[in-house]
């Protein structure tokens, strides 16, 4: 068994049956081994960036490790954005690249890049395998490392000669997973019991720890009003009456108000990202903070916690549930206050009854949320449409909302949707995108056609880079700069060129029928939705400002432009 065959053997052992890749010179021994191996489905994307993003989407939707493969040089460098995306959102990923032969490393050989050096800041760990006998242990460690603790991408760079060398070393036994660590929660319980306005603040760490069920049980048992980060959307489910939705730059007034007024912030699996907190000085100014996280480095990173509980989120939440099962926290007045804020300051979008009226993003997303099946996976791109989905689509589970939170990668949505469709061939997967983002990885229409994926694509087309235009309008004195996309291709014709049927709609009375048509179609279909160029995402907090300084449509004045953005 050579090095390449050993890699596939390790995939089998770890039940890795889908990988995303693109062949080339130095990785050819692995592709040669794939010819004989029928147990691993290799998905050929049309750009290495899409391979990494598809592996990311696969991992997010399934909870399993995502795997991407590329050759050396440009193949490897093209992966970088996708790997950085996974790193920023802590997605478990194994990255395998070919490298020039060991004797050629450092000679500026054809397609040689120091990919290990280039990617140090975007991986959980990485390896350059210079000894074939070390490969079995490295593969084993890498697969485990990518998924353990706080997950992340692990990169293995393998010279071509190592892939071809016979490996005598047997695969090491898989080490047992460490026991779930649960710190003492006594003090945290006392803080929770004495708080009058406690608020649950949850993020992507909940699903990363696969703690969705225990989180939901904790939220219900405790009755805590809650806010979620972009990546925490879906944590509380659709029906929790105390969930105030997303906080932050495009969060609801209700969520940001609750953070401002709370006296205890109970943070679960969130890293206090600047888009969520706004200016830190004004963030939860009256609150003590309990911070629960798997990663010790997140504790006290941006705000000192009054109490930190580092460990396994599942185990910690289960301990809280057990302690609170037989008691009620004295927070009825606070719950009522939060519900009032939710009623008056939750996300709203008027359903326009005028049939000929132009389509608005929020109204479209609300209809999509009402129409799509409960188990639908929505893979967003980045921009205004992403925020409208976060605000107006009701998710029942965080794994059904795939969004590039940390890196904000335009072009994420289409390959991520492909990955999600491979994770579950039977689920409804919809890529909601904008005209700017769609063009970043539009070549993946060919992947949809090749694998006959029944993906649904929805382009909210405002003929510009809407989020940039919005900030130029509000914070740069309306000086538009390089945001115009009114020379977009005909997206309907473009889809049809890939044998993907497509529809165009531009009136309110076409929304429902358009959505129902693509969902009912037995195969991939694209819905091109023309929306206004001038539409903005509301509310918005100016970058660097406090969340209490939210601007909404009714306060859309030149005051937003009074101070320039730093």
């Amino acid at each position: 068994m050579n090095g390449a065959q050993h890699i596939l053997e390790a995939f089998h052992r770890h039940n890795i049956n889908t990988v995303f890749g693109y062949p080339g010179g130095c990785i050819m021994p692995l592709y040669d081994a794939l010819v004989d191996d029928v147990g691993v489905e290799h998905v050929l994307c049309r750009h290495e960036q899409a391979c990494a993003l598809a592996a990311d989407g696969y991992a997010r939707a399934s909870g399993e490790i995502g795997v991407c493969i590329a050759t050396s040089g440009p193949g490897a460098t093209n992966l970088i954005t996708g790997v950085a995306n996974a790193y920023m959102d802590s997605i478990p990923m194994l990255v395998i690249t070919g490298q020039v032969a060991t004797s050629m490393i450092g000679t500026d050989a054809f397609q040689e890049t120091d990919i290990l050096g280039m990617t140090l800041g975007i991986v959980k760990h990485s390896y350059l395998v210079d000894d074939a006998e070390a490969l079995p242990a490295i593969i084993e460690e890498a697969i485990q490392l990518a998924q353990s603790g706080r997950p992340g991408p692990v990169w293995i760079d393998i010279p071509k000669d190592v892939l071809l060398t016979a490996v005598a070393t047997a695969a090491p036994a898989t080490a047992p997973a460490p026991d779930a660590h649960c710190p003492d929660i006594t003090r945290a319980l006392a803080m929770l019991r004495s708080a009058r306005r406690p608020l649950l603040y949850s993020g992507g760490g909940v699903s990363l720890a696969q703690a969705e069920d225990s989180f939901r049980a904790f939220a219900e048992t405790s009755g805590l009003p809650g806010v979620v980060t972009l990546k925490g959307i879906g944590n509380a489910g659709k029906h929790n009456p105390h969930n105030l939705g997303m906080l932050g730059m495009h969060g609801s007034r209700a969520a940001n108000k609750a953070v401002e007024e709370c006296d205890l912030l109970f943070v679960v699996g969130a890293r206090l990202d600047d888009r969520a907190t706004g200016k830190l000085d004004g963030f939860a100014p009256n609150a003590k903070m309990i911070h629960i996280d798997a990663d010790a480095a997140e504790i006290n990173k941006l705000r000192e916690a009054d109490l930190a509980l580092r460990g396994d989120l599942n185990a910690i939440l289960v301990a809280f549930i057990a302690a609170l099962e037989s008691e009620s926290l004295a927070i009825a007045d606070w719950q009522k206050q939060c519900q009032t804020w939710h009623t008056t300051g939750g996300f709203k979008a008027a359903d326009n009854e005028e049939p000929m009226a132009p389509i608005t993003g929020p109204a479209f997303i609300r209809q999509l949320s009402r129409t799509a099946p409960d188990d639908t996976v929505i893979a967003c791109d980045v921009g205004q449409h992403q925020m409208w989905v976060a605000q107006h689509y009701e998710f029942d589970h965080p794994r059904r909302h795939l969004t590039s939170g940390g890196l904000g990668t335009m072009g994420f949505g289409l390959p991520a949707a492909i990955g999600a469709q491979f994770a579950d061939r039977n689920s409804t997967v919809i890529n909601v995108t904008g005209d700017g983002s769609f063009m970043m990885n539009a070549q993946e229409l060919a992947t949809i056609r090749r694998y006959k994926l029944p993906l649904k694509l929805i382009i909210l087309d405002n003929q510009c880079l809407g989020m940039v235009r919005q900030q130029q309008e509000l914070f740069y004195n309306n000086r538009e700069s390089h945001i115009n996309l009114d020379d977009n291709p005909d997206f309907v014709a473009m889809a049809r060129a890939f044998d993907i049927p497509a529809l165009h709609i531009d009136r309110t009375d076409q929304i429902r029928r358009g959505i129902e048509t693509i969902l009912a179609y037995d195969g991939p279909m694209l819905l091109h939705v023309a929306i206004s160029r001038e539409e903005n995402v509301w509310p918005i907090v100016k970058p660097g400002a406090s969340n209490r300084e939210m601007i909404d449509e009714t306060k859309r004045t030149s005051t937003a432009n009074k101070e320039n953005v730093a």
């Binding site: 800041g121 959980k124 760990h125 990485s126 350059l128 010790a296 480095a297 006290n300 990173k301």
Partner: protein, 92 residues
């Protein structure tokens, strides 16, 4: 924030033990830079399977934050803060 623009920043000495792995030293230095610290002195001794590295560095951010980030590196075995070095220096 540009922590290196401060005129007076605390100085620290960290002793790190790392496994002998590809790019171990680069990983360490990169984390120090990205997390807002500047190295003013560095020494390293390589043993058969590990590296012992002593770093004198300065920065305005909490040293505990850097320490916890370094401890996350898979190659890092141990990070110890040398207490007597937590003094203020005027230039970095």
């Amino acid at each position: 924030m540009n922590p290196q623009s401060q005129t007076a920043m605390p100085s620290y000495t960290l002793n790190c033990r790392m496994n002998q792995e590809a790019a171990a030293l680069e990983r360490l230095c990169q984390v120090v830079r990205v997390r807002g610290f500047r190295i003013s002195r560095m020494s390293m001794e390589a043993a058969e399977d590990h590296l012992d590295i002593a770093l004198t560095l300065s920065g305005s951010r909490p040293i505990g934050m850097l320490r916890s980030q370094l401890e996350k590196l898979h190659s890092v075995v141990d990070v110890a803060l040398q207490e007597q070095a937590a003094v203020r220096s005027v230039s970095a």
